[in-house]
Amino acid sequence: MLGKTAGGLFWMFRRLERTENTARLVDAGVRIALTRSSAGPDDWKSIVTAAGVGDAFETRHGQQYEASTVVDFLLRDPANPSSVRSSIEMARTNARLVRTALTREVWEATNECWMTLDKALSDPVRERDLPSILGTIRQQSALVRGALHGTMLRNDIYDFARIGTFLERGDSTARILNVKYYVLLPSVSFVGSSLDNVQWETILRSVSAHRAYRWLNGADFNPKGIADFLILDRRMPRSLAFCAAKIADNLGYLADDYGLRHPCHDMAEAMRNCLRGHTIDSIMEDGLHEFIETFIRDNNALGSEVERNYRFNG
């Protein structure tokens, strides 16, 4: 496979993942606004920060963290490289680039996803249309994922697609935790207040995990449980441990397939082992914030190393 093709697959799936993650953050934001009379600019600001586009937002809108401004920026703004519209456009451009590596089903699902979302997001979204548009985004990206799982060979093409997916997903979950880590700290004085419950629920909703958490923990929403769930639970498909394990697996398949190990393999295994070796208590003890920041840094460094080792760019 051409190095460029591997890079195109990696970025195509990072971008698809980002499309969904951004939509999920908007969904979480809208829910807080609906369920809480006091939802205000601070909540929207943390959504923008969690999406990793705080600087781009403030360059464009200053401190105007109003619901409609934020929603438009996250869904439609071409100046926001992570907006749903920009992300799906870049996913589709990469898909065109690597079309020879995709099954017809995956290409068509991606192309159709782009056509549908580009049309749905061509005009500002009215508040009452928002739920149906967020639903469309979820549905269209699910179709691409379904086509990937159902029709692609499990070879290096699939591995690069998966590595891109989980690097992006790990980064996204970690950024959400990084923005909200303080509400998960046990020392915060208003533990148990209703404000807290909303914050926790927002975190869980941002990763579509509020129901999963309830299945596992009943109604016992507590900060440590949530942190444990999102960082260490290997059943939870958006947890850091899950993402790190998947990346290490897929890189491992590549090493077997090619008969060649690279520095990225050691890095990925170190990350997986680090998450396996911790308990939530030891993380809290050493500092939750530092732990998450280290994860984000290592995850990014791993992405660059994969890019180098497999010659995406030269």
Binding site: L2, G3, K4, R96, T100, E108, D156, Y258
Partner: protein, 475 residues
């Protein structure tokens, strides 16, 4: 059907009396309900859009991807018509390769005075760097498109030769796929020769043209200028269908004297490169130094015989319309036979008497730039206003050798489906030819392009033309 008796209609002899090859199709479509057919037609558009069978139009907004309109009425060619055409095409393509070999070696045809020396020596498309180079297997044009038009029952003419980089074969294949999906019943009613082997034939043909010292299965790749190129869809389609890599210039470099592609496991040498990058952009060290699309030094590797380029550099000279005007002589010179396919009579404006004639009869003629393609920069006299004619006449006078002129041909028509039912529109035909040291292979049929506007003679997709599926019936 509406008809216009000035033109030869390929489907109908008279209103409602179909010609033999169209008989079954006529019976079928007469029995179909009109609304249902129109619905099918819009389904086809959705299908093309979803599949991403698009092209980019130069000069349009960037990234504007357009569909080439597809008309669902097939163009049908009888077996004996096709046999005749195929013979003529094969002869012409043989002559083209012999001509290319000659002008880059001994130049016998120039010494014999059959073609003016300056027409070759001073031709932009003549590549002095190819002098003395013998491509692997002696093949210059591995992929050729010969554009044909028809004016009567037995009157076919070659309109132009595409020996550089003929495009459109992906539309030929996708048009057939679309027809098979939409109207499977038509293919039980009619025995249509399949075209679906083209990608395998192309791959085999390219592999057979590999350098002679290549041992084992040759590594083939397609070189594309990238996703912004108007024919990118076709490049990726062909790479995909052949099961080979689709590379851009920056994926390739010279490793140990060979062209190699950067893969996830390191550099892999390539034996045959089907390149869809023009000569001028192929090698910034040997040609245009500004080019970002090519591979520095590839021409040196090529001259050393370490890679096959398909088509060979310097083949574009055969697309030149002044060279075209000599094609009957070229065929005769190299094959010793009369050309089986006719040329359209052509005035070379470089010749003073011809120029005078052309300027006097401008309103009856079609005038083309000798290096032009895609229907750009051409004048269709009968359709031009007085002002346009005057302006063009001035252009002609200032640079006569840049132009040739031809009579306005009464191009044949094939019906398309319109809101008012079937209506005749002008068509041409581009058959696709594969050449390898093992021989010449012509895909039955080719791409039919159709002018969708009533009365229009311009079929180019960049100028609002569409395409049709082209059937050659089994004998």
């Amino acid at each position: 059907m509406q008809s216009d008796s000035n033109f030869f209609d390929e489907m109908y002899q008279d209103t409602d009396a179909p010609r033999a090859p169209y008989q079954r199709y006529h019976d079928w479509i007469t029995a179909e309900d009109a609304a249902g057919l129109r619905r099918k037609s819009s389904e086809a558009e959705t299908f093309f859009r979803r599949t991403g069978i698009t092209f980019n139009v130069y000069g349009d907004d960037e990234a504007a991807e357009r569909l080439i309109p597809f008309d669902m009425v097939p163009r049908i060619i009888s077996p004996h018509e096709w046999t005749r055409l195929a013979k003529g095409i094969e002869q012409r393509v043989r002559a083209i390769n012999a001509f290319l070999h000659d002008i880059y070696h001994r130049q016998e045809i120039l010494r014999a005075g059959r073609i003016p020396v300056e027409l070759v020596a001073q031709n932009e498309a003549f590549l002095p760097k190819m002098i003395g180079v013998s491509p692997p297997g002696g093949v210059y044009t591995h992929i050729v498109g010969v554009d044909l038009v028809r004016t009567g029952a037995d009157e076919f003419f070659v309109l132009e030769d595409n020996a550089r980089t003929p495009s459109g074969v992906s539309y030929m294949l996708e048009n057939r796929e679309t027809m098979l999906q939409m109207f499977p019943e038509l293919f039980s009613l009619n025995k249509v020769v399949s075209v679906s082997n083209y990608p395998q034939d192309l791959r085999r043909s390219l592999a057979a043209s590999a350098p002679s010292d290549c041992d084992g299965e040759p590594v083939v790749a397609v070189l594309t200028p990238g996703i912004h190129n108007s024919a990118y869809f076709e490049h990726s389609f062909l790479a995909d269908q052949m099961g080979v890599e689709l590379a851009e210039g920056h994926d390739l470099r010279i490793v140990d004297g060979r062209i190699a592609m950067r893969t996830t496991r390191g550099y892999t040498p390539i034996d045959v490169l089907y390149r869809r990058v023009d000569d001028d952009f192929l090698d910034p060290l040997n040609f245009n130094p500004e080019s970002m699309l090519g591979v520095p030094g590839i021409m040196d590797v090529y001259r050393a015989g370490k890679i096959t380029l398909a088509n060979a550099p310097g083949t574009g000279i055969c697309d030149d319309k002044a060279i075209y005007s000599y094609m009957p002589d070229i065929v005769e010179f190299y094959t010793g036979e009369k050309a089986l396919l006719n040329n359209v009579p052509t005035w070379r404006c470089s010749e003073p008497e011809s120029l005078a004639y052309v300027r006097e009869h401008l309103s009856e003629l079609v005038v083309k730039e000798v290096h032009g393609s895609g229907g750009y920069g051409m004048l269709v006299g009968p359709a031009a206003s007085k002002k346009e004619l005057a302006a063009f006449s001035a252009k002609l006078a200032s640079n006569p050798s840049n132009y040739i002129a031809q009579p306005t041909l009464a191009l044949s028509t094939v019906p398309i489906l319109t809101r008012q039912g079937l209506a005749p529109r002008h068509v041409d035909l581009r058959p696709f030819v594969l050449v390898s040291p093992q021989g010449i292979r012509i895909t039955p049929g080719g791409l039919t392009r159709v002018a969708l506007k009533k009365g229009s003679l311009v079929v180019n997709s960049s100028q609002g033309g569409g395409t049709k599926d082209t059937w050659v019936l089994e004998a």
